[in-house]
Subunit: 292 residues, 2 copies
């Protein structure tokens, strides 16, 4: 069994991006980070993004509207960033307060600055295999992890557990693309799937993204499979100071001995997400530099 080390791969990508940014002519790429309110997880995610941006040489502009901001005010704020030629990428940190329509906000971000890849047009472009768009960071990170671990999906059966808009569906569409590294046969399973273990046992590559702690057990996995665990779940643990520990959607102790390659949680897919956000920001900067 080989561990797919997301921290190490992300570190390599960050170093590559830093070199690419240094080689850019003109001003550095600029990423606007919009965080509404003070949700503790959001505070920590945005801080991590700021820190990585700084490391790479990407300018970040952090905007902190109060939790009472109206949807129209937030639209206005996004419209201003869309129109600002000094801003290349815009990220609106999820989750937003309940009085705001999150999908409408993501759709408001200009497709050319949508470094989170949540705009409807960019999702459509993934289906169309149109590389002018932006791929959402988690599915892009999964494909990058596989490519850098020498896992070629061609002719392989890829089983995706979960059909979410931000992971399951886009990663399925990416794995299906007719291009080098992809070209997999893809099955998408979910809560209504019958005989789930019989299907997941067919997977040469199993991508678990259902948000249920240690859901994938040894009987659901074919020996020699590659396992990508997207889940990040808290489970109570009295031995920890925090009172909990983080586990994935895969029962790691039981499944890892069977796997050819497997991502740990934490330290697998997680670190890739911020690296891909920075990669998208550099892409947006390059797009902005060419005529549209």
């Amino acid at each position: 069994m080989e561990l797919i080390d997301g921290n190490q791969i992300a570190t390599t990508i960050v170093a590559e991006l830093k070199a690419a940014v240094a080689a850019l002519g003109g001003r550095p790429p600029c990423l606007a980070l919009v965080r509404v309110g003070d949700d503790p997880a959001s505070v920590s995610y945005v801080k991590k993004k700021e820190k990585t941006a700084e490391e790479i040489g990407v300018t970040s502009r952090v905007i902190l509207p109060p939790v009472t901001i109206t949807q129209d005010e937030l639209f206005k704020l996004i419209d201003d960033l869309n129109a600002d030629p000094a801003v290349d990428g815009i990220l609106v940190q999820s989750p937003l307060p309940k009085h705001i329509d999150e999908v409408a906000v993501f759709r408001r971000v200009s497709p050319h600055k949508d470094v989170d890849g949540f705009n409807t047009i960019n999702l459509g472009k993934v289906a169309q295999e149109d590389e002018t768009g932006f791929v959402a960071c988690t599915p892009a990170g999964i494909m990058e992890l596989l490519a850098r671990s020498q896992v070629d999906l061609k002719g392989k059966h890829v089983v995706v557990l979960g059909r979410s808009l931000i992971v399951g569906k886009p990663v399925a569409l990416l794995a299906l693309q007719k291009k080098a590294g992809a070209n997999g046969t893809v099955t998408i399973c979910h809560s209504a799937t019958a005989n789930l273990p019989a299907i997941t046992r067919q997977a040469d590559v199993l991508i678990a993204a259902i948000g249920r702690a240690e859901f994938v057990t040894a009987d659901m996995v074919k020996p020699g499979a590659v396992i990508i665990d997207v889940g990040i779940n808290r489970v109570a643990d009295a031995t920890k100071k925090s009172g909990y520990r983080l586990v994935g959607d895969v029962n790691f102790p039981a499944v890892s001995p069977l796997a050819a390659k497997i991502t740990p949680v934490p330290g697998g897919v997680g670190p890739m997400t911020v690296a891909m956000l920075m990669s998208n920001t550099l892409k947006a900067r390059r797009l902005a530099a060419t005529a549209r």
Copy 2:
């Protein structure tokens, strides 16, 4: 074995649409049909669409630019139709001459008038399960055939053969949606799939859309499966006056005895496409009547 009669189901839908159009207040729905040049298949498709529109009470406006039209001129023509409040739906008949970028043309059609469902935004909305968009006519027709044949996909394994942008991918996304009638477990196979018969034999519902004459043989099908044949292929036949006959992607004589339900070719999916185009045009008319 039960034959799924696409002609009969399409006739029922046309009658329903006729009643719905008659019950509409204000002007009738208007569909612009743009046909570039005189490709014989396109001439016949557009004629069929005009005829069905007339039957339902939809006004059609047929526009016949010469095959020498430039891409910019075609864009201008589409922009005018996009801006015309008397036009609800716009269809640009495929194929277009080689000097024109087809995807760019489809993207030029306003998403609100895109009754063909080929605009990137409308494809993204299928993935997002956002019902304000338009679903492409062939995949929409397949879902309608299944629903009207009492085939509920929930908990079923749906295998889609083919990953095209206009059939395979959108029908896979539709079958996967978390809504009544859908909710299937979905596998997408294609030219690079290994052990194809072992996968198609798992299908409770098999949707064949690869454009290869009589490709699906009896050994690829589980007894009791529902078979939807999207293919329309010409094969040489000296006994026919035309010198050919039409066959699907399924070897009908060999497979039909095994199937619980199966669509014939012709007379299965084909007739549904025009019916769904008219359904989309009525939807566009209703959307136009409400504030955007």
